[in-house]
Symmetry: C2
């Protein structure tokens, strides 16, 4: 499983809960976080480098626990990797379509995710009658990374980006960025209980189980575990990671990726 | 001249104003921005890669227009490069020491810059009796990059990080990050006119002229110009750059750096 930084830990948490016997290798690309404002070419290149590192650790399946990467690099990853690849766009999209009554679904994410229109395309493919209203919330990631989710600044940012959704009367919101669950209480405060907020981590965990079952490689016994790698500043992941997971995160190791100046084909 | 992103354009602007006959090659490392929360090892590695690219363009002197990089990588750059290197820490520090009456100087910057204590060391070396009060303002860069300097969020962030300075009665403030001048009106609103705000770009431009004069390679005639390079998303620099420079910024090119997995020596 990889993410651009710590956000993917919200997915890891749900996968561990659902699949406690599996061993997870987590890679946070903290040397190049955030992906959300970068070009599709750069995100694809970084995603391939991350995948190569994880392959070298002997993984049997890849979870792209980063929305930006799932939105722009998933087809390339699926094509080039010899193992099953699951992203974080399809699972919450399916849940959103199943939950909406008004057929009005809100989607929030980084600039790159929203610009990719990946959620819009996925949701409309699943239900052509659904209307998708998308908003980029570029300040949410730094607010979460700085631990300011309880600060007045977080409230102001939530209001700035999401106030419109009230008027537009959506009934389902997809948090299209793995950092955003940290802000869920503030978002719920603004939108109220009438809006169903999709939990991407939980939906993705369900998909991971399905895929492992289908490929006959689901572990149902034995003790699972986690290896944590980052590409820069292991101490920072320990601190923030503990906050996300609600438990101390120990032994974070530094990963040395083989970087390439440009994708050979993309 | 290089910066992690667009912030260095505030320095470029002042250098162009003071030295209109010089030709500047600007490199924004937008593929890896921001440097402010990364480790010293990563920032040093990225700085060397940037410098190598600029050397290949035939520069006669290097301006490290990034505070984080100046704070942690300047000694390595000075040691390894065959040309004069100027950073953005020393020039404003000298001005701060010259301006303060109360001998109480405030310094703001990214986490990495503040953690490096580079300003503190430089100012105390210039005037051992000066007291330096430092604050990391990690949300300022994303606020500026998102163009939210006039938003209520900017006011709240300025108040959050700088309100303490009023009580601590500093009389000089060093904006130790090249992005921060964009927030100067909001900072001035809070701190009032009694606090002198040092203009890093202007002070650095003065130093650049001195160094070029000393080395006998100052251009005093002929038309100057600028080449703009970024490591990702050239369009984004065009937009934000125009806002910083107050004039359209055209022909931004993509730079392909030779990256290395880790520094050979550092």
């Amino acid at each position: 499983m990889f993410d651009s930084g710590i956000g993917g830990l919200t997915v890891l948490k749900e996968v561990r809960k659902l699949l406690p016997n599996e061993h997870i290798v987590y890679l946070g690309d903290t040397a190049r976080v955030p992906y959300g404002n970068r070009s599709a070419a750069a995100v694809t290149r970084y995603s391939l480098e991350n995948a190569r590192f994880l392959l070298s650790r002997g993984i049997k399946m890849l979870v792209v626990a980063c929305n930006t990467s799932s939105a722009v690099a998933l087809p390339v990853l699926k094509k080039r990797l010899p193992i099953p690849v699951v992203g974080v766009i399809e699972p919450p999209s399916r849940e959103a379509v199943a939950r909406t009554r008004k057929k009005r679904i809100g989607v929030i994410g980084t600039r790159a995710t929203i610009a990719s229109r990946a959620y819009e395309r996925t949701i409309r493919r699943l239900d052509p009658s659904a209307e998708v209203i998308s908003r980029a919330c570029p300040l949410f990631v730094p607010i979460v990374e700085e631990g300011l989710e309880a600060d007045a600044i977080a409230g102001l940012a939530v209001d700035k980006y999401l106030n419109d959704f009230k008027r537009l009367s959506i009934d389902v919101l997809v948090m299209g960025c793995t950092h955003y669950p940290i802000l869920e209480p503030r978002i719920r405060e603004l939108l109220g209980d009438a809006v169903y907020i999709v939990n991407t981590g939980k939906e993705t965990a369900g998909e991971v189980r399905e895929v492992l079952e289908k490929h006959g490689c689901l572990r149902t016994s034995g003790r699972g575990g986690c290896d944590y790698f980052v590409t820069d500043a292991p101490d920072k992941l320990s601190d923030l990671g503990s906050r996300v997971l609600g438990a101390p995160l120990k032994k974070v190791k530094l990963a040395r990726l083989e970087t390439t100046p440009a994708p050979t084909r993309a």
